[in-house]
């Protein structure tokens, strides 16, 4: 029997806490695991009922995701033996690979538009948030409210005016158009979140830098910005997740040129309807950049770097 301690939880508390955390993690991870597994199933296994937990893994979904294929006659197939392992997989359906699919292109569109709009949202949001936090902006409260009011309805509610505007401005189905659109949606979130973070940074640091011989802008990027890193990182994650996953506007405004991955993935057609393993494979690959970005930013999220250097 150990003695009571305020700071050190008892063994039983630790077990209960561990059990709860693991249970929660398992529940939230089931859909992810499902997608991951489906990507390695054959089309038949993917739609079998009851769902198969144990199955023969195959890369068929991934091959189908990245390639376009055509059906060929037996003579052609016999005359041309398979070139590689991917070829071999598609041969079982009497098909040959004739080229890459659109997935790579769509994925790159997502990267350009997602990261582009995140960068722009953070860049503009940080400057605006700093101004709102530090300067006497006329009608500050009203402006902040207007900025937030763009979030008070679902973005799709303005889909038709935006559709018409984009068509008239020649922004439809362009990367720039989508970057501007997602920046427009994200900037209110960015300004509000970042203003909160910058408000927390004491003004004394900038004042010290001003006295130390720096201009207001130098003080901003040498002193304020490094301390806002935590806030910028978490805001960037939110902005990226929105832009990365956005579906409705992407369906409406993009097609041949700037289409992103979300509207593309569910349209991957295989034999006899949707090719579920290929869709799941696309979804799996689609998850990776956001995961990597979040992991990279995690150390900023966990570190409270301004703690304790100004006496309150």
């Amino acid at each position: 029997m150990s003695s009571f301690s305020v700071t050190e939880p008892s063994n039983r508390s630790k077990w209960i806490a561990g059990f709860l955390v693991i249970t929660y993690a398992l529940i939230t991870m089931i859909p992810l695991v499902w997608i991951l597994l489906t990507g390695f199933k054959s089309p038949a296994d993917a739609i079998s009922y009851p769902p198969k937990v144990v199955f023969d893994p195959t890369l068929e979904g991934y091959v189908n995701l990245f390639t376009t294929r055509t059906r060929q006659t037996q003579e052609f197939l016999e005359a041309n033996p398979p070139q590689n392992w991917a070829d071999e997989i598609v041969r079982q359906y009497d098909m040959v690979i004739v080229g890459p699919s659109k997935f790579g292109e769509r994925f790159m569109n997502s990267v350009i538009i997602g990261f582009g709009s995140t960068f722009l949202s953070i860049f503009l949001g940080t400057l605006a948030a700093y101004a709102f936090s530090r300067f006497k902006v006329p009608l500050k409260d009203d402006l902040l409210f207007f900025i937030l009011s763009t979030r008070m309805m679902p973005p799709v509610a303005v889909a038709i005016p935006i559709f018409l505007m984009f068509r008239n401005l020649g922004l439809s189905d362009t990367h720039l158009g989508m970057i501007l659109l997602y920046t427009g949606v994200n900037i209110s979130l960015a300004v509000w979140l970042l203003k909160g973070f910058i408000d927390e940074i004491p003004r004394e640091y900038e004042e010290a830098a001003l006295i130390d011989g720096y201009t207001r802008f130098q003080a901003f990027y040498k002193v304020v910005l490094p301390q806002a890193a935590t806030g910028i990182a978490s805001t960037a994650i939110f902005c990226l997740i929105f832009a990365w996953n956005e579906y409705a506007f992407a369906v409406l405004l993009t097609s041949a040129n700037a289409q992103t991955a979300p509207p593309f993935i569910p349209t991957i057609i295989g034999i006899g309807g949707l090719d579920w393993p290929a869709v799941a494979a696309g979804a799996t690959i689609f998850l990776i950049p956001v995961m990597i970005f979040t992991i990279l930013m995690r150390k900023h999220l966990l570190r409270g770097i301004t703690f304790g250097a100004v006496r309150k």
């Binding site: 010290a208 001003l210 006295i211 130390d212 770097i305 703690f307 304790g308 100004v310 309150k312």
Partner: protein, 330 residues
Amino acid sequence: MAEVVLENISKSFGNLKAVDDISMTIPNGAFVVLLGPTGAGKTTTLRLISGLEKLDSGTVHIAGRDVGIDTPAQRDVAMVFQQYSLYPHMTVRENLSFPLRSPILKTPEDEITRKVNEVSEILQIPHKLDNKATELSGGEMQRVSIGRALVRDPQIFLMDEPLSSLDAKLRADLRVELKRIQADLGSTLLYVTHDQVEAMTMATHIGVLENGRLVQYGTPRDIYENPGSVYVASRLGLPRINILPSGLFEGDHKGPQIGLRPENIIEGEGSEARVIRAEHLGDQTRLHLDLNDHPVVTLIDVHQDYPSGKVIKIRPHNPLYFDASGARVN
């Protein structure tokens, strides 16, 4: 190093007059202490000189130049903040180098290294140079923030209660050290405090502030011996000056209130007072007396014993007289 002249400077925040028509000259090489309780306008005065606050009216001249529209950087002042304000994302060395690397100074690297090492020696923090600013104790942070001013050679040093968060021993050490540095370099220094020991020991001039106004400005001795009002008299001296109705003592009085510092009360004859208790502080003994229901504090011989309830006789020596409003009359 330069002379700084304030002429009729004022600053209000809303309805609050933080600084109310202050005029003073800080001579080149002087160590001027602004003394006053919280809210008297000490910090605002510093911020007006540094350019962190904009003047409502009046002028500030540094080295003969009107700096009214200059930025803090252009004014070439160094400031130590009460809240340390060390850059938390930098090491101690980077913090100390920061002002030297500014676009205005652009100091060469070997010069920076030399100055930073020199200042860290003075402030006894050379072993902490590579620590993050956030890994220091409060006292160490405060020393680094003083160091960040000392690496420079500005027109004037502005210090806002720089020693207030240090422990007693370090405070005493740094008090001597700051005074020595200032005297060696011939720096002009404006120093804000509410600690009268700091004011008395370091200052060449003391300015006493009350509600945003400069009520008296002079040498420490002058302020102590010739206070212009009860307020000023109460700012300096420990134990505090006794302010009593003159009628408690016999003889002619020049005003209705009599001000007696503890050392200006002589025992042996005069009015009767009852001993409440004696406080033995080692180097001095404070005697708390009851004089006709008025509390009086005086100093007595350390080795004499005064039991509670004993009745002694006291009389004033070189008293100060004040009128009913608190203004000095003699």
